[in-house]
């Protein structure tokens, strides 16, 4: 009984430590534009763009799948120009600039 508890404790600690270290080693820098674009979108998660929610739409915009912000139906003209100009001016982690219409 006590061996079993000790074994699980030791294994959990070792494996957890190993994963924590490898998490540092294989750290992938998240795209910092993502948070910004997500905040600029209306945030209704209505799904009218064809994605499950605003997060999907933001990913689509940043991966080049979506070429016009107007695919987001509830957004107003101000939001559309804001988002498109933000994406057109800020390059991604790979240094490439996307072209997105308002």
């Amino acid at each position: 009984m006590i061996e079993a508890i000790l074994l699980m404790l030791v294994m959990g600690t070792l494996l957890g430590f190993g994963l924590a270290v490898s998490g540092e080693v294989f750290y992938v820098k998240p795209d910092e534009r993502f948070e910004k674009v997500l905040n600029l979108l209306p945030g209704y998660n209505c799904g009218a763009c064809g994605y499950p929610g605003c997060q999907g739409m933001a990913e689509g915009l940043l991966s080049g799948e979506v070429t016009a912000v107007s695919q987001c139906k509830p957004s107003n003209a101000q939001q559309r120009t804001d988002i498109s100009s933000y994406i057109n001016e800020n390059p991604g982690p790979d240094g490439k600039l996307l072209v997105v219409k308002p």
Binding site: E3, L7, M8, M11, G12, L15, L19, G23, F26, V28
Partner: protein
């Protein structure tokens, strides 16, 4: 010679998918494109190979001496889950496109019964270390082989004229059944 026949029989005769019917979830899920099938095969090979070696050592040197054999399932799953996490980090770092095409099926390797099967089979069959290594290499090779064959057939099926009612998954199931029949023809090989 015995190791060689173990190797061949694990790949072709007792094929993990077509003969044991394990690991069906990625077999149906990630076989749409040959490239992602190859990536899945690589990930599964990595996980099965290393987790088998570690679980073998754990069982022989810790669980058996301390009479903790009943702990095999929970400790094995712990090790497999950690390895899957590791693979996920590595793939995310070095191949984001593969990470995207594998999607949910990558973390699902944890619950892929093929991985646990190899870890448990090594113990049940009483394999020694060399046999464990050979078996842990042969099973995922068989898995990858079948996945690649199946995905290339499915790529052809996409452009073939399939009856409306059978389009997509139904015809894939029929193909899988025919493949299993064909592989059972190799039964007398070893």
């Amino acid at each position: 010679m015995e190791l060689f026949s173990l190797f061949i029989s694990a790949i072709f005769i007792n094929n993990i998918i077509l003969n044991r019917f394990l690991g069906m979830c990625p077999f149906m899920g990630v076989s749409r494109k040959t490239s992602s099938a190859l990536g899945m095969g690589g990930a599964v090979t990595f996980v099965i190979f290393f987790s088998s070696i570690i679980t073998f050592g754990l069982y022989t040197y810790i669980l058996e001496p301390f009479n903790l054999q009943y702990m095999d399932l929970i400790t094995f799953i712990l090790i497999i889950a950690s390895f899957v996490q590791l693979v996920e980090m590595i793939i995310k770092k070095f191949s984001p496109s593969l990470y995207k095409s594998l999607g949910i099926f990558l973390p699902l390797i944890t619950t892929n019964c093929a991985v646990l099967f190899v870890a448990l089979e090594n113990i049940k069959q009483g394999f020694n270390f060399t046999e464990t290594v050979v078996y842990a290499l042969a099973v995922p090779i068989g898995f990858t082989l079948v996945l690649i064959i199946f995905s290339s057939i499915r790529e052809r099926l996409d452009i073939a004229d399939v009856p409306q009612a059978l389009k997509g998954n139904p015809v894939a199931m029929i193909v899988a059944a025919i493949m299993a029949l064909a592989f059972s023809g190799l039964a007398g090989l070893v």
